[in-house]
């Protein structure tokens, strides 16, 4: 009973922050001398105005769910995974390579195999900073950031060298048809990737709260000394945790390649899915369900930016302002609670964990 009340309370803060963020957007649109109604109409229509719009929303949302889950998972175990970006990139390359390298396989084997290579690459990318933290106490924030850069430049080298699959473009070969994810609405790019993402969210929930390993990881996250006292091997669990976080982001990269890109494109600068994942995790209060909703919100906002510019002549940066303000409002939870007095009425339960 208590728990559900707390969750509702959190949801209230999130919703209030979204509304406040949109209000900030209105102010900026008015300052720019444009029409907020026209603007927000365009924003809405971009995702919900047509079937194609909606399927593209799903496609925008899918990678954010994965990177959001990756960050949230690590956070629940007491670690800051700033490395989802790099894990996502190596996941892409791993899946792309497995997608064209193995030939003659049936789809039922090739797809999981290619996804598996993405997972493996991401897991490795996460496990390394985890290992450095466990063995040498090196802070994972620094090392995951470092791993992002290594991912960027290592894949850059590979796709311009040994894995170059095109006469002059820095891309790999296209993956075989047997490795492509099923698209279920003809004429759109809607594919089963979104269901893999939702399954990953369910998995994270189940793993963290319903398994003994999840119990251990959360214990280490909250109080490593007490976890150690309870017989949990703290350093080993730090490695596991970062490995799983990396695997989630890596799977996200793999899904993107197998469903949309079909090949690995040289990443000249960070795409930002990993960093948006941090925002998504924050908005979703590091809970899998919250992450899914947060990813949809970000996917929705991102999709609407261009149409707002082309239809309502509102600079697309307004959308960045809206998403940034939502993040600020959610982080300044106390402030939002003050703005909306209803939330501040019940005191006492301060550090809600859900």
């Amino acid at each position: 009973m208590r728990k559900s009340w707390k969750q509702l309370d959190r949801l209230g803060v999130a919703l209030a922050s979204i509304v406040l963020g949109l209000v900030v957007g209105i102010i900026f649109i008015l300052v720019a001398g444009k029409s907020p109604i026209l603007g927000y109409h365009a924003l809405w229509n971009a995702s919900f105005g047509s079937l194609r719009g909606f399927t593209e929303l799903l496609i925008n949302t899918t990678p954010l769910i994965f990177t959001g889950l990756s960050v949230a998972f690590a956070f629940r175990t007491g670690l800051f995974n700033i490395g989802a970006e790099g894990q996502y990139i190596v996941g892409q390359l791993g899946a792309a390579w497995a997608g064209y390298f193995f030939t003659g396989l049936p789809m039922i084997i090739h797809v999981p195999l290619a996804l598996g290579f993405g997972i493996l690459a991401g897991a490795l990318w996460g496990a390394l900073p985890g290992y450095l933290k466990a063995k040498a106490g090196a802070h994972e924030v620094i090392n995951t950031i470092m791993m992002n850069h290594i991912a960027l430049y290592a894949t850059h080298y590979l796709v311009n060298g040994p894995l170059k699959g095109h006469a002059f473009l820095p891309v790999t070969k296209e993956i075989l048809d047997s490795a492509k994810l099923f698209r279920f609405i003809p004429g759109t790019r809607a594919n089963i990737g979104i269901f893999i993402a939702l399954a990953a969210a369910v998995f994270v929930y189940w793993f963290l709260w319903k398994t003994t390993k999840g119990y251990e990881l959360r214990a280490v996250g909250f109080n490593p000394l007490a976890a150690e006292y309870g017989g949990v091997n703290v350093s080993r669990n730090i490695v596991y945790s970062m490995m799983i976080a990396g695997a989630l982001a890596g799977l996200g990269g793999a899904v993107q390649v197998l469903s949309i890109q079909y090949k690995f494109y040289d990443v000249t600068a960070f795409i930002g899915y990993g960093f948006d994942g941090i925002a998504v995790a924050l908005i979703g209060n590091n809970h899998p369900l919250g992450v899914v909703l947060g990813a949809f919100l970000f996917g929705f906002l991102a999709r609407g930016a261009m149409p707002m510019q082309s239809i309502a002549q509102i600079p697309k940066e307004v959308i960045s302002i809206v998403s940034a303000s939502i993040i600020i409002f959610i982080s300044a939870e106390a402030l939002v609670r003050r703005v909306i007095p209803r939330f501040s009425k019940k005191g006492g339960v301060k550090d809600a964990n859900l």
Binding site: A226, Y229, G231, G347
Partner: protein
């Protein structure tokens, strides 16, 4: 005379509990007012309301006759109220002086005037006899000193009403004497003190008046000189309490724990254990007496696998367990009530149920394969909550939301219910009320009667003397004596603990 503090009809509800139910409290100037009540009675809550940390659902607060809305601690501080919490709130890497002036730093232009700060700190410490080194880092000083820092911090902000929430629970007997002197010098200066403690002796010796709370309601308001320990215990718990432990004679059995020439280093890498030899038998409680910091912590940690010994062996029922991990030692039959409940013993962000299976979540019936079986875990928690009288509305409540004493009960319940061959109980009754102490003492004796071995580590000589069958004294990392409890007296132990070796007589006993 106008009371300095008057609280009227205070009500505070938390989900599922009414922590304060129309509480009235009056404190006179220059008075030491004791607040007494069972674990979870609502004492800390009431004081947090007075200090502006919680908002009451109903009721009024008057300071020196004037009504005040305590919306946050700054209001309370401005009105001259200071509070030292049950669990300290200092910043470990900062120095003593930095901690004290934090938030009210004296400035020189834009900059912090540290010299001025140190001077002011020294003034206060001089005036009230609170000796302290302003340059020392908080993480390097003892708990007693940290408490002193908290007190000076409150005085620095001009407190003349000082709330002390269980200040003596973490102190050594010597430090308690010092604190008593400090409190006396404070009231001589005209300040008032509200003192929360579970130790009836302290209530009797220190306070002028006592307010007793039971389940959120005031049940008595007494003049200290007109009451007695027995009456206080009875009013507080609602039934007569045995202040003595009933224990029958019993022959100890085989050796359960055997420690041979154990050496270990402390956290700073200095030798802390210098050749410990000790035996604990089945069916006995062995009390380990010693001044804090003589190797007790390191001994416990080496025995439980949290610290690696540099030399020596540990045998459990004849089996070498010296190098085993904490998990393996726990499975081999060692239970452990850690001395610091918030550091090692609990995960404050976990529910009570989750905390109760901290040592056994991976085993039947709480897990099957990789799956946790929540139904079993919750049923188990409900049973222990009932059996150990943990005051909470449900097993879902976070451990961090329990009262201090009830947090301790969660740990005690978990470790005793596992029924280990060897139970290492460090400060097992820290922060418990008299009723709960009676209960835990009986449980420890019950373990002993059932043929289990109990190693009791306590700073309270009373507890050691009344529970133990044999008493070992630790001094500078060595066992300097092992006495039969019947021969031990407080004086004898005190002497041994201070390093005055008792010579041959001790050797003879030991063999």
């Amino acid at each position: 005379m106008v009371p300095v503090v008057q609280m009227k009809g205070i009500v505070k509800e938390f989900p599922g509990v009414r922590a304060n139910d129309h509480v009235d409290l009056e404190v006179m100037p220059g008075e030491i007012h004791a607040l007494l009540g069972e674990n979870g009675a609502g004492k800390s809550t009431l004081m947090n309301i007075l200090y502006g940390l919680y908002q009451p659902d109903a009721g009024q607060i008057f300071v020196k006759g004037e009504e005040v809305k305590m919306t946050d601690p700054n209001v309370a501080i401005n009105k001259g109220i200071g509070m030292v919490h049950q669990h300290f709130m200092l910043i470990p890497p900062f120095t003593v002086a930095e901690n004290i002036v934090l938030g009210t730093e004296p400035r020189k232009g834009l900059f912090l005037d540290m010299n001025q700060a140190i001077k002011q700190v020294e003034e206060i410490s001089e005036r009230y006899g609170l000796k302290i080194d302003p340059h020392a880092k908080v993480e390097d000083i003892s708990v007693g000193m940290q408490q002193r820092v908290e007190i000076i911090k409150a005085l620095f902000r001009g407190a003349d009403i000082l709330i002390l929430d269980e200040p003596t629970a973490v102190l050594t007997p010597h430090e308690i004497e010092e604190l008593e002197k400090i409190i006396r010098s404070l009231v001589q200066e005209g300040k008032s003190v509200i003192l929360i403690t579970h130790k009836l002796k302290e209530v009797m010796s220190m306070s002028d008046r006592v307010t007793v709370i039971r389940r959120g309601k005031v049940v008595a308001n007494l003049e200290t000189r007109e009451t007695s320990e027995e009456e206080l215990a009875r009013t507080m718990v609602g039934r007569p309490v045995l202040l003595e432990v009933a224990k029958k004679e019993q022959e100890p059995g085989e050796v359960v724990l055997e420690i041979k020439d154990l050496h270990a280093k402390d956290a700073r890498g200095l030798p802390a254990l210098k050749g410990i030899n000790l035996e604990v038998r089945s069916g006995e409680i062995l009390g380990l007496a010693g001044v804090d910091g003589n190797g007790q912590t390191e001994l416990i940690e080496t025995l439980t696998g949290l610290r690696q010994p540099t030399q020596g062996t540990i045998l459990l029922k004849g089996q070498d367990i010296t190098k085993l991990s904490p998990r393996k030692k726990s499975l081999a039959g060692i239970g452990h009530i850690p001395e610091d409940r918030q550091k090692r013993g609990l995960i404050l962000d976990f529910s009570i149920a989750e905390n109760l299976v901290l040592q056994s979540y991976f085993r039947k019936p709480f897990a099957s394969g990789v799956r946790l079986k929540w139904k079993e875990i919750q049923a188990y928690a409900d049973r222990l909550i009932q059996e150990f009288d943990i005051r909470t509305p449900s097993q879902e409540v976070l451990a961090g939301h329990l009262s201090g004493g009830n947090q301790q009960k969660v740990i005690v319940a978990r470790e005793i219910d596992r029924d280990p061959e060897l139970l290492i109980a460090a400060q097992p009754t820290r922060g418990l009320d008299v009723g709960a102490i009676e209960f835990v003492h009986n449980k420890l004796v019950e373990e002993r009667d059932n043929g289990k071995a109990v190693l009791l580590i306590s700073l309270e000589l009373d507890e050691i003397l009344s529970l133990s069958d044999r008493i070992a004294v630790i001094y500078e990392g060595k066992i300097v004596a092992v006495l039969d409890a019947k021969e031990a007296t407080e004086e004898k132990l005190g002497l041994l603990m201070s390093g005055a070796a008792a010579g041959e007589e001790v050797e003879a006993d030991y063999a």
